[in-house]
C-alpha cells in the first residue's frame, strides 16, 4: 500500500504517495520527473543513479528505498547549478572534454561533488578510489579525473579570493 511521504529535492518539498518497495531512483525519475538521475544497472553497481543525501553524502538511489529517506534532503544533478552559472564541476567537465555519451555524467558529477566536500585537493589516486563506484564506458576515465582536479583548483582559487577580500 502506498505511503504518503515528503522528500525535499533540490530545495523544494514534494509530498506524494510511494510504494514501500519503490526505489528513490524510480520515484525521482518517474514520479517527480528528475530524469537527470540515470539508471545504468538498477543494482548498485554502476553509480549512474548517484544523488546527494543531506548535504554531501553520495548514495546509490537505485539501492535506496524512497520511504527510507522520507523527510530528508536530496540533491540531484538538476539542482547543482545555481542561477546562470554552472557549478565548477559542471564547467570543468565541459572544459576538459570529460563528457561523451553523457549517461554516466550526472552520477559522476554528484559523486565528485561529495569527494570535493571531503577533500578539496584530491590526487589522481584518491579520485580513482573515491569514484570507483561510477562506471564509464566511453571516456576511459582520464578526462574525468582531469575535470575533477580542475574543478578542485577553481574552487580553491575562488575560496582564496573571497577569503583575501
Amino acid at each position: 500500500m502506498k505511503r504518503i511521504i515528503t522528500l525535499n529535492v533540490n530545495g523544494v518539498d514534494y509530498t506524494f504517495g510511494a510504494e514501500p518497495n519503490a526505489t528513490l531512483a524510480d520515484v525521482l525519475r518517474e514520479e517527480l520527473r528528475f530524469t537527470g538521475v540515470k539508471k545504468g544497472c538498477d543494482d548498485g553497481e554502476c553509480g549512474a543513479c548517484s544523488v546527494l543525501l543531506d548535504g554531501c553524502k553520495v548514495i546509490p538511489s537505485c539501492t535506496t528505498l524512497a520511504v527510507e529517506v522520507e523527510g530528508h534532503k536530496i540533491l540531484t544533478i538538476e539542482g547543482l547549478k545555481k542561477g546562470d552559472q554552472l557549478h565548477p564541476l559542471q564547467q570543468a567537465f565541459v572544459d576538459c572534454f570529460a563528457v561523451q555519451c553523457g549517461f554516466c555524467t550526472p552520477g559522476m558529477i554528484m559523486c565528485a561533488c561529495a569527494l570535493l566536500a571531503e577533500n578539496d585537493d584530491p590526487t589522481e589516486a584518491e579520485i580513482r578510489d573515491y569514484m570507483r563506484g561510477n562506471i564509464c564506458r566511453c571516456t576511459g576515465y582520464g578526462k574525468i579525473i582531469q575535470a575533477v582536479q580542475e574543478a578542485a583548483r577553481n574552487i580553491r582559487t575562488a575560496k582564496e579570493a573571497v577569503e583575501n577580500g
Binding site: P20, P60, T63, G133
Partner: protein, 296 residues
C-alpha cells in the same frame, strides 16, 4: 531470466529498539530488519526473498553509535555505515585490517548506506569483513524480546547465507577488542578487478611477535570455504617459531593445502584460488615480519 516478483511488504518505522524487537517477535520469518539495505534491496527487487513486513531501523539513534570503550574495545552499532566505521577516529591506526577490508569493498555510494553488521549478516562466503573480525576475536551482540546474548564471530557464521540469528533476533552491535600491544594486522583482498569485484580470496592476519618469535598468530580466509574461517593449521605451524621466510612459506603452503576448500565458479577455478591463498598468506606474513616490500 532472473525476473521475479518484487517483494511487497508492509513498512514499519519504529522509534525505539524495543519497538523493533516487538515487531520481529511478532512477525518472525515474515519480517526483515533493514539498516542500509544495500544487500537487502537488490533481493527485494529480484523477488528472491519472500516476506511481508519490513522493519526499518532508521529512527533508532542508539543503533547508529560507534564508540571506543574505556578498555579500548571498538563498538559498532548495526546502523553505523561502513564509511562512518572506516573513518571513525582510531580505527585505521588500531584495527588496520578492518579499515582495509572496508576500504576494499563496494564503493563510496554503497558504503554511505551499507553497514558492517549488514555485511556479516548477509553471510556470503566472500564476505569482506569476515576475515578481519575473526582475527580480531570480535563478537556480536544479539538482542530479542527474550534477552541478549553475545556470540563470537566464529559461531556467528553458520553456512552459506546462514547466520546463528533466530528469526526474532537482531544483531545490534559488533564488539572488536583492542589488538595486543605490538601486534601487526593486515587484510588483503584479491580480486580480478580493483573495484566492483567480490573477493576471490580474502586474507586477514593478526600476528604478535616477541623478539622475532611468533607469540600469537591468527590468520583468517574469506571466499575459500562456505564461511570465512581461521586457517588453524597454518596458525599452529607458526606459534613459537621465528618468523623466517622458510617458516612463512611453509605456513602459506599449509593454509592453501589444508585450511581452505575453494570452489570453482565464474570468478576463478579452485586451483587458482588455492594458489592465491598461498601467495597472499605468504605476503601477509612477510608484511608481519617487516618485509612487505618483498611482495611487490
Amino acid at each position: 531470466m532472473a525476473l521475479g516478483t518484487r517483494t511487497n511488504f508492509e513498512y514499519h518505522a519504529p522509534e525505539t529498539l524495543a519497538g523493533a524487537l516487538d515487531l520481529l517477535s511478532e512477525y518472525r520469518e515474515d519480517a526483515r530488519p533493514i539498516a542500509g539495505g544495500t544487500d537487502l534491496i537488490p533481493k527485494i527487487k529480484s523477488g528472491i526473498l519472500e516476506f511481508s513486513h519490513l522493519v526499518s531501523l532508521k529512527n533508532i539513534d542508539e543503533l547508529k553509535r560507534i564508540y571506543i570503550s574505556e578498555d579500548g574495545e571498538l563498538h559498532v552499532g548495526c546502523c553505523a555505515t561502513l564509511r562512518e566505521t572506516e573513518n571513525f577516529p582510531g580505527v585505521r591506526e588500531t584495527w588496520p585490517a578492518l579499515a582495509a577490508a572496508i576500504h576494499s569493498m563496494a564503493n563510496t555510494q554503497v558504503k554511505n548506506r551499507g553497514t558492517l553488521s549488514g555485511n556479516i549478516c548477509n553471510a556470503v562466503p566472500s564476505c569482506e569483513n569476515g576475515p578481519n573480525l575473526l582475527v580480531y576475536d570480535a563478537s556480536v551482540v544479539i538482542k530479542s524480546i527474550r534477552g541478549e546474548r553475545i556470540v563470537p564471530v566464529e559461531a556467528f557464521f553458520v553456512g552459506i547465507l546462514k547466520t546463528c540469528l533466530e528469526p526474532d533476533e537482531l544483531l545490534t552491535e559488533i564488539i572488536i577488542p583492542r589488538p595486543a600491544e605490538g601486534s601487526f594486522s593486515i587484510y588483503y583482498k584479491y580480486a580480478l578487478r580493483k573495484a566492483l569485484d567480490l573477493a576471490m580470496v580474502g586474507v586477514a592476519a593478526n600476528v604478535l611477535l616477541e623478539k622475532g618469535v611468533v607469540k600469537d598468530a591468527k590468520i583468517a580466509l574469506g571466499a575459500v570455504a562456505i564461511v570465512p574461517k581461521r586457517a588453524s593449521n597454518a596458525e599452529k605451524s607458526l606459534i613459537g617459531k621465528e618468523l623466517t621466510d622458510d617458516v612463512i612459506l611453509e605456513a602459506a603452503r599449509i593454509a592453501s593445502e589444508e585450511d581452505c576448500r575453494p570452489i570453482t565458479d565464474i570468478r576463478a577455478t579452485a586451483e587458482y584460488r588455492r594458489e592465491m591463498v598461498r601467495i597472499y598468506v605468504r605476503n601477509a606474513l612477510r608484511a608481519a615480519a617487516g618485509r612487505e616490500g618483498d611482495c611487490k
